[in-house]
Structure formats: structure tokens, C-alpha cells
């Protein structure tokens, strides 16, 4: 067991270090890096088989990502006991993976805006996707996406994805066609949005259509004037907000009690509220939507790497992919999950876009880490630390 672990982590750690140094030296643009440049890079020495399980698996996950429906059968099959720590934001996930120097958790279900921070922060290690057979069935965009694959080195396997939607009470609000509804005083005091700095990108996305003069092409790559415009919009929005929600359950309570009638949400909230008979619906307005694409990433100091590989192999199978998609209201990475979804809940494949054309995937602006160097060669974009500071200023 120990030998296995040492073999897995030590050379990998060095290689991650090497990769990071190379990336930092070349001023890699992160989001725009392609997987083609790995030819000169030495390939990391990865495990070629999954060894016997260690009996334990520690996850950092989004709420609803380690449900007993699929975690229990996994425990029975592999003997790896699953314990999950739920995090409410990407920032919290990064903090959890770093607390105490790491070594507590094996896997994290990180979204695109946490991935690069974890990779460059040496908190995660490369993964051999050959050991995860379902990887071959993934939609092409999620096999080696720029947010979890650097120079052909995979730092995890994609999991599920989906859009951030506009949730509204359809008795009080007629179907909105624009995000404007959460920035205009019409529903003052009845609006709720996530308490999350990445929310600035939602404002930027809205401004990119509303005010084309700003020239926003990517809501995560904002120059100072573009950033200021988004912050300004959000500061004007603050008096309209009932509450910034930190947990999905808070937003659910507010819609249930009538404290909020419109807000930014995940499809998970829509599903839960509709199941409770609350009169809500969600929409993707004309400006498009931000969204998430989650990746199971392997911690650099994972204490149970074999169980971690078992988990990655298991949760990418069509059955689990379909269970997860229906439970959370998101879209699986595995194309074979569509048939399985319809088997579990009729019509769910189409409902959650598992059979949608590639253009649907491309219409979503997926969360990614804002970096100072946004590929224009001037390094004049606002890095994420500025986003965090600005968010505290907006919330007051």
C-alpha cells in the first residue's frame, strides 16, 4: 500500500512542479492553452493499473455529489468507505484542499474556476485517463478541456456540466427574456443572487450584450474599464437584493416563503422547489448563461489513490452519470448516459440536454479562473484576488 502510494506520488509531484514552472515561465494564458504543446514535455509517469483499495475515500464535493444512491453501491463493490465534505463555493473547495498543507482529501469535484488554481497551486496531480474506460465516451469538448488538461496532461476527469439559470416564480413574474430582470427595480427587494465573486462574470455577460461598446468578449477576461462597469452594475443592484445566498437551501427557503420571486440559481433549486409544489420555473435568457463544468481532481497528497481511481472509474459510468444528472439537474459528460437517463426517468435525457448539439455546450460561458494574463499579451486583466476584494465591496 505504502509502496503503491510512493510510486504514485513522488515522481508525479516533481513533474507537477516542473510543469508549473514551465507554465509560469512561458506565461501561459491558462484558459486559452491548447493540448497540442506537450510534445517537448516529458510525460509524467502515471500508474498503469489500479491497485487494491485502501478501504477509505475522502471527498470534497458539491452538495448532492455523493448521494447514497450511488455512493452505497460503490462502497459495497470496492470496500472503499466514502466520506464527503460539502463545499458551497469554488473558493471554499480550494481552501479545503489547501488547509493544513493538504493530505486530508483524495478527490475534489472542482469547477472550472477552481481547476487552474488547484493545478498551479500544486494541490492536484496528473491522472492516467487510460484507467478510466468511460473517458472514451465523453463528449469531445470534455475529454481534454483547457481547464483541466494542460499540455496534454490530465489533472482529473470531467464529470457533469450545466448552466446557471434564471429562476422565477411564474405566478408573480412572466417568463423573463433577459437577465435585466435581476438588475432593474421592478422586483426590488425580491431578488436573490449567489454570494460568490464569480457572480461578477454574470454581470459582465449581461453587459457584453447590453453595452457592446465595452467590448467584453469573455466575461472572465475583463480589463479595468470593463471590470469597473460590471462592479458598478452590481453596486447598483445591491439595494434591489433581498439576500445574497451562500447555500442552495437558503435560496430554496426564500422562494418557498415568498421572500424572493426571481434570482440566479442552479437547476438543482428548480428541481427541488418544483418537487415541493412551489410555482417556479427557470430560463436561460437571451444573453446566454454562465455555467459550470466539474472535474474530479486527484489531490497531490491523496492518502487513498486507489480508491480515488476506483471512484473516478465508477462515477463516469453511464448509470451513475445518469443518476447524478437527474438528481442535480445537470448534463453528464458521458454520451452513453442519455439512454440510461430515459430508462431512469422518461424524457430526462432531452430535459437535461444530454442529447443537445455541440452548439448548446458552446453557448455556455463556463466558469474559469480569472487571471491577469488573459491572452492579449498585456497582462492587464483583473486577476481573481481583485474579484474577491471587489465582491466584498459590493456586498458591503
Amino acid at each position: 500500500m505504502t509502496r503503491q502510494r510512493a510510486r504514485l506520488t513522488r515522481p508525479v509531484g516533481l513533474l507537477v512542479l516542473g510543469t508549473v514552472l514551465a507554465l509560469v515561465a512561458s506565461g501561459c494564458g491558462g484558459g486559452s492553452s491548447s493540448s497540442g504543446g506537450g510534445a517537448t514535455q516529458a510525460k509524467p509517469k502515471l500508474p498503469t493499473s489500479i491497485g487494491p483499495g485502501e478501504g477509505q475515500l475522502n471527498l470534497v464535493a458539491w452538495e448532492g455529489y455523493a448521494q447514497p444512491d450511488w455512493a452505497k453501491p460503490f462502497e459495497r463493490q470496492t470496500g472503499c468507505k466514502v466520506s464527503a465534505k460539502y463545499a458551497g463555493s469554488s473558493d471554499e473547495m480550494v481552501a479545503l484542499m489547501r488547509n493544513g498543507g493538504g493530505g486530508q482529501y483524495d478527490l475534489v469535484s472542482a469547477s472550472g474556476d477552481a481547476d487552474l488554481r488547484l493545478i498551479y497551486g500544486k494541490d492536484v496531480q496528473p491522472v492516467n485517463v487510460d484507467l478510466i474506460p468511460s473517458w472514451n465516451d465523453f463528449i469531445p469538448q470534455l475529454k481534454s478541456p483547457p481547464f483541466n488538461t494542460i499540455n496534454g496532461v490530465h489533472y482529473g476527469v470531467s464529470y457533469e456540466w450545466g448552466p446557471n439559470v434564471l429562476l422565477y416564480n411564474h405566478q408573480k413574474v412572466s417568463q423573463p427574456s433577459s437577465w435585466e430582470v435581476i438588475y432593474s427595480p421592478q422586483f426590488k427587494g425580491q431578488i436573490t443572487v449567489p454570494d460568490n465573486p464569480i457572480q461578477i462574470a454574470d454581470a459582465a455577460l449581461y453587459l457584453s450584450k447590453k453595452n457592446p461598446g465595452l467590448g467584453i468578449s469573455d466575461p472572465y477576461e475583463l480589463t479595468q474599464p470593463q471590470f469597473d462597469a460590471a462592479i458598478n452594475l452590481l453596486k447598483q443592484q445591491r439595494p434591489l437584493i433581498k439576500k445574497y445566498w451562500a447555500l442552495a437551501s437558503q435560496e430554496i427557503t426564500m422562494f418557498k416563503n415568498g421572500d424572493a420571486v426571481v434570482g440566479a440559481a442552479w437547476p438543482y433549486q428548480t428541481n427541488t422547489l418544483q418537487a415541493d409544489g412551489v410555482k417556479v420555473a427557470d430560463a436561460i435568457p437571451s444573453e446566454g448563461a454562465t455555467g459550470w463544468a466539474d472535474t474530479w481532481m486527484l489531490a497531490s497528497k491523496a492518502p487513498h489513490p486507489n480508491c480515488a481511481y476506483q471512484w473516478m472509474k465508477y462515477v463516469t459510468t453511464p448509470t451513475v452519470q445518469a443518476q447524478q444528472a437527474i438528481y442535480f439537474g445537470e448534463t453528464p459528460a458521458n454520451t452513453k448516459a442519455c439512454a440510461e437517463m430515459d430508462k431512469q426517468a422518461k424524457g430526462s435525457c432531452a430535459q437535461y440536454h444530454a442529447n443537445a448539439p455541440a452548439s448548446y455546450f458552446d453557448s455556455i460561458k463556463f466558469w474559469k479562473t480569472p487571471l491577469a494574463d488573459c491572452g492579449n499579451g498585456k497582462s492587464d486583466c483583473m486577476p481573481y484576488t481583485r474579484w474577491q476584494q471587489a465582491w466584498q465591496e459590493i456586498k458591503g
Binding site: 463555493s89 473558493d91 471554499e92 480550494v94 481552501a95 489547501r98 488547509n99 498551479y120 497551486g121 500544486k122 427587494g189 445591491r238 439595494p239 437584493i241 433581498k242 439576500k243 445574497y244 451562500a246 427557503t253 426564500m254 416563503n257 415568498g258 421572500d259 486577476p383 484576488t385 474577491q388 466584498q392 465591496e393 456586498k395 458591503g396
Partner: protein, 308 residues
């Protein structure tokens, strides 16, 4: 054989006894040594567990993190404190926290005084016991359960709006606001004000009030010149609780607060749990420590600690 061994055995005992007597004499002659001996164990505990953690907090506040990896860099600087002073946002958050603590303290003092007065000076001993139970009973329930109960009362379709609707008033939209926080804090910390005020009022002899009446003072004048000054240390003692408990809270703002309700505690919580910026959290955490130190010095001036 037996006597020899007895002899040999008695010798060290006698020596130990002399030594013990010497030690006792020494302690008798030097009282400060006795005090040191008695206090050193609890004092070591206090210093190690309590003061050491405060010292670590203070030291950490002068460090910083690497913005990219969020590792702590042990480089001394005043940057964290500079951010605190210069940023209008953090100033506003600190002022909001202190302002709310003051508002809650005043509210609780005003609400607790008549109640404690009735308990201490009017109620029969049977009623007094019942009131004691009534004051203490909420403390048996979880803090969170009580906050959530208020969340339901303030909800848009909750009890408050229902009652307002019944008596023909427009619905009060105070859920998720600073007003809601003020009411919840005042409710939650009220017992911590009632008990010390009651203790102070109970100690005032009836004869003082009679003497005041004999000298021609009316009821209100007696209250103003005799009762309130004598009860003041109790009110100050209670205010130490209500003020410090509100100052350090972050759960009520998180659950009951609306947009723009963050307290110092919320920023500390986010700095540690979300941004992984422990030095900044430490720097902000020193603010309530300083405020409380000043408050306690003032409270001591008013004799609050004799009333505890």
C-alpha cells in the same frame, strides 16, 4: 532485627518531616512564595491556552499570504492593518458590528430593567421562581433553532406578516434585514442582561427606598437618585455580555441578515474558510479584541465587576 529496621525506617521519615516543616515555615515566612505555588498551575494553564493563542493571533496578523498559492509567508508588514484602515468597506463593516452591538445592548438594558425590577422587588417568591424559569428556559434550546424560528416569523408568508394582515396593516418586509438582526440579537441575549440586573436590584435594601421617601422624595425621584445609580453596575455587567456576544457573532448575520449585513465575524469566517487568508482574518479579529479591552476598562470604572 525488627528494631534495627524500625530505627532505619524512622530516620528518613523524621528527616522528611523536618524538611516538610522547613518548607511550611518558608512558605509562612514568604507569603508571596505560597501564592506562586498555589497559582502557578492554573496560571500556566491560562497563559498557555488563552494568552498564547491570543499571541499567535497577534503575530499572524503581521504576516501575509502568497496571493497565488495562499501559503503563509512569514514576512513582517502592516499591510493587513493598512487595508483595514484604508478600505471604506471594512470600516463600514466594523462600524456596523459595533453599532449593532451598542443598539442591542441599549435595547436589552431598557427591556431588562422593568422585568428585573418586577422580579426582584414586586413578585412573590413563587412568581419569582416561575419568572426565573421563563428567563432561563430559552437557553436550553439550541441557539440555531431559536434563530431559525425568527427566520420563519419574519418570512414573507410568516407569522409577523400574517398578524399584520389580520389587523389591517400592510405587510412588514423586515425579513433578511438589519432590523431583523437587531430584533433577533436583542431576543437571544436578553437573559444575559436580566440576570445581572436582577442581582443588582435584589441587593438594594428596602430601607433605602423608605429612607428616600421619608426625606420627601417621590417614587420617580427615588428611582432616579437611589435605585438606578445602585443598579448601574449590574446593567454594565450585563452590557459586557450583550455587547461582547453580539460583537463576536456571525451566525445570525449569515442566516437573518440581508444584503449588506456582514459583521466582522463574517469577514473573518470568509477569510479563513473561503479565501484561505489567515493573516488578514487575524488582523481583523484583533479589532473586537481591542474594542472589548477598552469596554472592560470602562466597565470596571463603573464597578461592573463587583456586581457579578
Amino acid at each position: 532485627m525488627a528494631s534495627v529496621s524500625g530505627q532505619a525506617g524512622r530516620q528518613p521519615v523524621a528527616r522528611a518531616a523536618t524538611r516538610g516543616a522547613g518548607l511550611a515555615a518558608l512558605l509562612w515566612r514568604r507569603p508571596w512564595l505560597r501564592a506562586v505555588g498555589l497559582l502557578s498551575a492554573p496560571l500556566a494553564w491560562f497563559v498557555l491556552i488563552y494568552l498564547a493563542s491570543l499571541a499567535v493571533l497577534l503575530v499572524t496578523a503581521f504576516w501575509r499570504i502568497n496571493p497565488f498559492t495562499t501559503d503563509i509567508e512569514r514576512v513582517w508588514s502592516l499591510d493587513n492593518f493598512k487595508t483595514l484602515v484604508e478600505s471604506a468597506t471594512y470600516r463600514r463593516i466594523a462600524l456596523r458590528t459595533v453599532g449593532m452591538s451598542a443598539a442591542v445592548t441599549v435595547t436589552d438594558a431598557l427591556a431588562a430593567f422593568p422585568f428585573a425590577w418586577y422580579m426582584a422587588r414586586v413578585a412573590s417568591s413563587r412568581v419569582r421562581s416561575a419568572l426565573f424559569v421563563a428567563v432561563m428556559l430559552p437557553l436550553w434550546a439550541s441557539y440555531l433553532a431559536r434563530v431559525y424560528a425568527w427566520l420563519l416569523i419574519f418570512a414573507n408568508n410568516g407569522a409577523l406578516n400574517w398578524a399584520a394582515d389580520r389587523i389591517g396593516l400592510p405587510s412588514l418586509g423586515i425579513g433578511y434585514s438589519n432590523w431583523a438582526m437587531w430584533i433577533v440579537f436583542s431576543y437571544i441575549w436578553l437573559p444575559f442582561m436580566i440576570i445581572p440586573v436582577y442581582a443588582a436590584l435584589e441587593r438594594i435594601p428596602d430601607s433605602y427606598a423608605e429612607a428616600s421617601a421619608d426625606l420627601g422624595a417621590r417614587g420617580w425621584w427615588t428611582a432616579r437618585r437611589v435605585i438606578i445609580p445602585l443598579a448601574l453596575p449590574g446593567v454594565i455587567a450585563g452590557s459586557v455580555f450583550t455587547f461582547s456576544l453580539t460583537l463576536g457573532d456571525y451566525v445570525t448575520p449569515l442566516l437573518v441578515g440581508g444584503a449588506g449585513s456582514d459583521f466582522i465575524g463574517n469577514v473573518v469566517y470568509q477569510s479563513v474558510g473561503v479565501a484561505n487568508n489567515i493573516p488578514f482574518a487575524a488582523a481583523f479579529a484583533t479589532v473586537p479584541v481591542v474594542i472589548m479591552a477598552l469596554y472592560l476598562v470602562l466597565a470596571r470604572r463603573f464597578g461592573a465587576f463587583e456586581a457579578l
